[in-house]
Symmetry: C2
Subunit: 809 residues, 2 copies
Amino acid sequence: MTNGHGQHPEQSYAGETGDSIEYADQRRGYGIHPWKLTRSGLLPDDVAASETLFTLSNGHFGMRGSLEEGEPRVVPGTYINGFYEQRPLPHAESGYGFPESGETVVNVTDGKLIRLFVGDSPFDLRYGTTHSHERALDLRTGTLDRSTEWTSPNGQSVRVTSRRLVSFVHRSLAAIEYEVEALDDNVYLAIYSDLLANEQNATASSDPRDAAVLDRPLKSEDSGARGQQAVLLHRTRRSKLRMAAGMDHVLEVPQGAETTIEAGGDLARYTVTAQLPKGSKLRMIKYLSYGWSHRRSTPALRDQVEAALAVGKLIGWDELLEKQRAYLDEFWQHADVEIDGDPGLQQAIRVSMFHVLQCSARAEGQGLGAKGLSGIGYDGHTFWDADLFALPMLTYTKPSAARDHLLWRRNTLPEARARAAELGLAGAAFPWRTITGKECSGYWPAGTAAFHVNSAVANATARYVAATGDREFDAGAGTELLTETARLWMSLGHFDGAFHIDGVTGPDEYTAIVDDNLYTNVMAQANLTEAADACERNPGTASELRVTAEEIAEWRKAAAAMAIPYDEKLGVHAQSEDFTKRDEWDFEDTADEFYPLLLHYPYFQIYRKQVIKQADLALAMQLRGDLFTPEQKARNFAYYEARTVRDSSLSAATQAVLAAETGHLDLAYDYWAEVALVDLGDLHGNVDDGLHIASMGGSWQVAACGFGGMRDHGGVISFAPRLPHALDRLRFRIRSEDRVVEVQVTRTGQEQTATYRLIEGESFATTHHGQPVELSGSDAVELAVPAVPQVEPVTQPARREPTRRRPQR
Amino acid sequence: MTNGHGQHPEQSYAGETGDSIEYADQRRGYGIHPWKLTRSGLLPDDVAASETLFTLSNGHFGMRGSLEEGEPRVVPGTYINGFYEQRPLPHAESGYGFPESGETVVNVTDGKLIRLFVGDSPFDLRYGTTHSHERALDLRTGTLDRSTEWTSPNGQSVRVTSRRLVSFVHRSLAAIEYEVEALDDNVYLAIYSDLLANEQNATASSDPRDAAVLDRPLKSEDSGARGQQAVLLHRTRRSKLRMAAGMDHVLEVPQGAETTIEAGGDLARYTVTAQLPKGSKLRMIKYLSYGWSHRRSTPALRDQVEAALAVGKLIGWDELLEKQRAYLDEFWQHADVEIDGDPGLQQAIRVSMFHVLQCSARAEGQGLGAKGLSGIGYDGHTFWDADLFALPMLTYTKPSAARDHLLWRRNTLPEARARAAELGLAGAAFPWRTITGKECSGYWPAGTAAFHVNSAVANATARYVAATGDREFDAGAGTELLTETARLWMSLGHFDGAFHIDGVTGPDEYTAIVDDNLYTNVMAQANLTEAADACERNPGTASELRVTAEEIAEWRKAAAAMAIPYDEKLGVHAQSEDFTKRDEWDFEDTADEFYPLLLHYPYFQIYRKQVIKQADLALAMQLRGDLFTPEQKARNFAYYEARTVRDSSLSAATQAVLAAETGHLDLAYDYWAEVALVDLGDLHGNVDDGLHIASMGGSWQVAACGFGGMRDHGGVISFAPRLPHALDRLRFRIRSEDRVVEVQVTRTGQEQTATYRLIEGESFATTHHGQPVELSGSDAVELAVPAVPQVEPVTQPARREPTRRRPQR
């Protein structure tokens, strides 16, 4: 660990833990710190990855962690949630209902740029001499901090420090504190603080998971500059969305400086030139503001951005910092997950939770994208995993963010209803991938056919309502979402004795267009029941939605009759009808380099064999665990574990949860590390394109649902905590209505003890490994953790076992 | 019927049958004639259809029936078999093994053009006064004949007659006899006889079944003109294929004429100007020659085309005509199907057979396209139906053409082997659609997954070998084709007790990616057995192909263990595993205008319901009829008939054959008319894009296999003739090795009698409704046809019953 430099008191990266643990999957240059993600030096190969990992965002807009000085950079993206451009979706052979246009997130005007010239030389770490270069994403201050000591090619030395934030409290504001200290005499400086639209793009890729790269998506509409402030206004060419970016500055220079401001077309620039005596500092605060609209006029948008800048300046840098810290203190106070025994994992879990918070906190009216606002991977689209992997964490730690996403789903109901109608279905068919709510999937067997996205919305809705007791939401958006998704299932399925849902694709994308996917069926079953309950709870809303008693009865009838495929011969549930009769994949003969399989084998081969991309039945056993006996879970887990290749980052979290439940705690621990390090360790090789937000949400799920054993079947919360050998302690807290509940499990020798405590609220009833627990006041309840039952070892496909996590203390 | 005009003795269209029967599905303007397709007058709506129906072709190249004068026209196409251009195949989301480029037939240099100017006026039937305009495709002379009497807008009258042929005997030659007779005094004429490349295209369509329209696909490479001859040489831009078109002329004008010749770029022109006294005629013979190559040089190709023109001129028009007639006389002598009782159907069957012959007769090294050489529908691609619907007719009537197609399949084995390897399979995977042998399908669930195309090649191979006794083919291409297709099945299927083939698409494209499609399985079963037999017959070839005794044993083992899905509860075979458990389609609520379903419903809806696009299990019952009892056939036919919507032109022929076999003779008759009239009646609304060659081959199959009851299971030919009520007599002839066998069935009151006779050959053994029949010498064997067994009526989906064919005598 090389994180001690101590030159900047606010940015002391010296490991607070004092140790120097390293892991095989720890990336070079990154340091371990309980509350920071730190990195020393500049590695050319890591530029794009660090841009992703150091992303700052508040859910409304996000800025990748590129350097203020602009270079070196790979993808210096800035993204506004919901701001997209249309692009054609070409089909080699078109078909009815194939979407003809897609949506792609746009790299909007870059406001991070503060180009620095020292004497004649651009400040660029690839030239001159870098004495130190330290960066840190601080999870408590909510800032991206850097400090660089550098000597220019012509011998002048400076120390550049910067601190950047995207405000959680003021959602259209970002700010950068930028300081240059002269380490030599009479250093001449020039600073160009820019707004730059239509930045050059990185080159396109042929990986189908990547995004469509748009060339110069923005058309200049207006610009203006006065004093230290400038604004650029642009519009997208096809989607016709308008955006404004503004900047304002506060400058402190001991001996004064020359400044100019200008704006036009794609560039606005505030120029500062100054001469610094040795030891003196130039300090500049750059305020940034973003706004967009599909209907507001150019002047209105311009005024909006300028007003935000004025507010920002009035509040001032220090107060912005304080508010940011206070916001995060409040979050961590009730959300933090603590573990003892693995500082690297501790860091990764907090980084993960921080990014999930960042991409959702202030989304307000927009969805939660698969990459958050950290990159253009997956075109910036939102998928089902937002609802099932990110929302559980938010529901129990930051419910307002979960609510925002669900309200966005509700707001896209017109598109989802239209899509259902286009498909000949009732209710609402939520899109597989989208920005605005319109289906943007170009490959229907793994898009349109994956109707389980509707059950994800319903599941998240029901969970949110149960966890928060948000009656207003329940009576409005909640009941509407549950009703329209329930209607979809009724039109999609049919009774034949049992209720069958044929021709769909479940979460496992290596098996497509199947009958009675168990996951889809049991999730639809819950959806139908929850819709019936919601309508009965909210008869007024139900009546507005024209739900009749007969309709509710049909929902309950279908739920009761739901087909649940089971292979009697093997004694396991079938992922879908006849799945277990399929040919086996030849894992022994599939070399490492043939993963992910989808890039090396045709779909038809993958679909017809027993090879599983990602947890499917396992996810059903997590979310509908009350339907399975412990013995069934154990047998099913072993069967599917042996056939799951984890080619999706969505898999390991669920496998961890089920591994923990079925007594494979060390396997669960290995999976946890895989989940939490998916981006820090770049385990899928594409961190450059953005964060895996679902996996990051999964990190929390493994804590709470895996080692915490938390379940919320039917809205009733239960726990069954248990630690793996590597950990000595786990503590997490969840919100439930007006309460905050703390669960802690500790190890003493072979014994494990769980402690339950109310942090807020008056009383709470739950269970501990099935045993009732009543919490009231601040009294802790301490209970022994039952011994792990004897379990048969499980295996993964050849060469697909997770990396064993072995800290090298 | 308005086909008597009598002005041109050679083109007397006067109905030889003397009656005037009309049918609801008879198209306006077309007349009924036993040996001609005639049409009177010019209907703007029918221009494209008549261009298709009047196509002349010899399998090497084809010319649509556009008028010599060039206008009016919609698609004046000329196509050379195998001559294509590449085009990109875009995918909204790409995937491993998705083809990235496609192939599209090219409209090559048009040589039909003979533009005529009468005085100042272009000869164009949309202007001036048309007194008569008669055209006829003559099925015995193999010519397209026309006669037009017309007065120009400025009052000068002419009679234009023309006769056009594409030579069956000289495969690179076409010729046009063009006569203009002055009906007024001193008519000034100008004639532009052209070669024109890169003709303007019709507008593109959004129907996925249509072709990609290429804009200016040809690049000029060279041109030359001398005397009355001119040549244009072009090359495609991407596929880099070179082609040459040449023309030469012989002119007869009573008082002489001025002529010039010129050539350059995309146009070559022979100009004739003359003055004709009343009653005199200008007569011109235009010889046309086409050649192409992917490796021959420009000079070589030019010489080739000029040599062909020289030969053509030497032979002369009259001899070309005679040879054409002789070729067709020989064909009809052994191939004709005669029926009494339905002259319209009689005509349609002969037109169909004529077009199948035209598109295959001289293909020599190229495949038999779905549209022949009559249009750009389906991009000019060859599909499985060539092997299964067109080849049976050719095998039994023109075996050399069947052989040509199969040799093309053999020549594309390198591409098919490469495709199999790309897909992770053994042997050869023949493409779903192609020109060169490379897969060009852009939608894999109905392309790549339809592996039954391989069994179609194998089936055609085995049939050809059995029917012809062609030992050389059997020992070479035949064994190779059967072996490589058999190997594909072994790698595609797996043993699990039974041998299963999962994740494939059968002929019914409304059901995709299923397990154990019965058709695919039983066809694969035959394929495996035939491959084993062929290798045992031809041990030398087998050894060259590295076939071992163990491999053959595995083939036989898989064939013996083949899974054949059967629904015990319903007592019917299942089209695929669990098919009969699927939800039913709501036919009652599907209005007429929602057909074809694929243009109005998403695939996912169609795939998961019991709705069948085209005969699938029925085709299995035809081709593998020996696997089913008569009771099973009856029950299966009834079950699937009620769920088959016939959205494919490939369906009705098979339904007709099975309807006839199961005793529904009048239904079979209705289907026969639908099959035979698919283009003449434009029943699918897309005759403009080209002929439905498979359906045309199906017309013959309904005669031979439907009402003739002919089967060739295991290479053994049997008959079970039976007439529907509407017909009094059916006669057809088939070749079997060195024999020609005639089967005739006649009706006398309620009794039907079959007569079997050898036209060529010494002896032949067959069966009549199961009863052994031995033919020898020219002795006819007359046998009573057993009475039709009592059958339950069958039904079709609501509003999808075939039109009842009721002649209005």
